[in-house]
Symmetry: C2
């Protein structure tokens, strides 16, 4: 697979994880971490079920990847997520030294990959993260919009 | 107790938690969450022992407070922490709707309460947090400096 196909392949899996979240009444966000072309960990948002504000997909997938690799350092890992990370998740990505974040769609209300603030690329912090955005943007955005539309019915 | 004495009382306990962290080889940071004058949860940094980049004192104390209260919403809670929160922890504080953060000393390298960036008071996010800083500043700063001095020996 070339790079773009590989990004779409993994984002398709993140989208499936987001759909599993929606089926459980969670805001549909899915994430996975890939190292050397292999999936190390996957997660979806579990905030409502766990009653934990911190259980965003990105926090859970970072926790599981560190368990799988036996280290807090997730150097050379790529994190795929269906929505632009918030400040908490962007900060967790910096803390765990993840190399690259691929996200599908921007979050104009809370995004910390450039939308509301930019934690991921902040040159004053001790680590910067490469951003690839817009992969399966329409599909992931549709999943989120249709979830919130149903909530309002 | 008046408010200042109460802040010093709880920060003294956070400082003790930070010293427990240092004894276990962790960067000495302690945190607790208080609601209606009662301690709901406490934690210290467990990053190295758990090999989890996300196991900062603030993340752990938020997780434990939500377990104790049975809700992700930590409205009307105050979080005491010995060091200014990083972007991840400041974002987690926003996500959990904590009312007030009391911290002892600033973190010029990573602080997200005004030092490197300001997540806690960011008016473009959907929640803002009241900041009280400088409570037991010298004691908590000394604890951190002495830990790093020993590391370099």
């Amino acid at each position: 697979m070339d790079e773009l196909n590989s990004h779409e392949h993994f984002m398709q899996m993140a989208l499936k994880l987001s759909q599993e979240a929606a089926e459980r009444g969670e805001v549909p966000i899915g994430a996975l971490i890939v190292k050397d072309g292999t999936i190390v960990a996957q997660a979806h948002n579990e905030k409502e079920e766990a009653q934990q504000a911190i259980y965003h997909a990105e926090i859970l997938v970072i926790k599981r990847a560190s368990e799988a690799l036996g280290s807090w350092r997730l150097t050379d890992c790529t994190l795929y997520v269906t929505l632009e990370p918030c400040a908490m998740c962007a900060g967790a990505i910096i803390q765990s030294r993840i190399k690259r974040v691929v996200f599908a769609t921007r979050d104009p209300k809370a995004g910390a990959g450039g939308s509301v603030l930019n934690v991921l690329e902040n040159k004053n912090l001790n680590h910067q993260v490469e951003i690839v955005e817009g992969v399966l943007e329409q599909e992931c955005s549709h999943e989120l919009k249709s979830f919130f539309r149903k909530l309002r019915l």
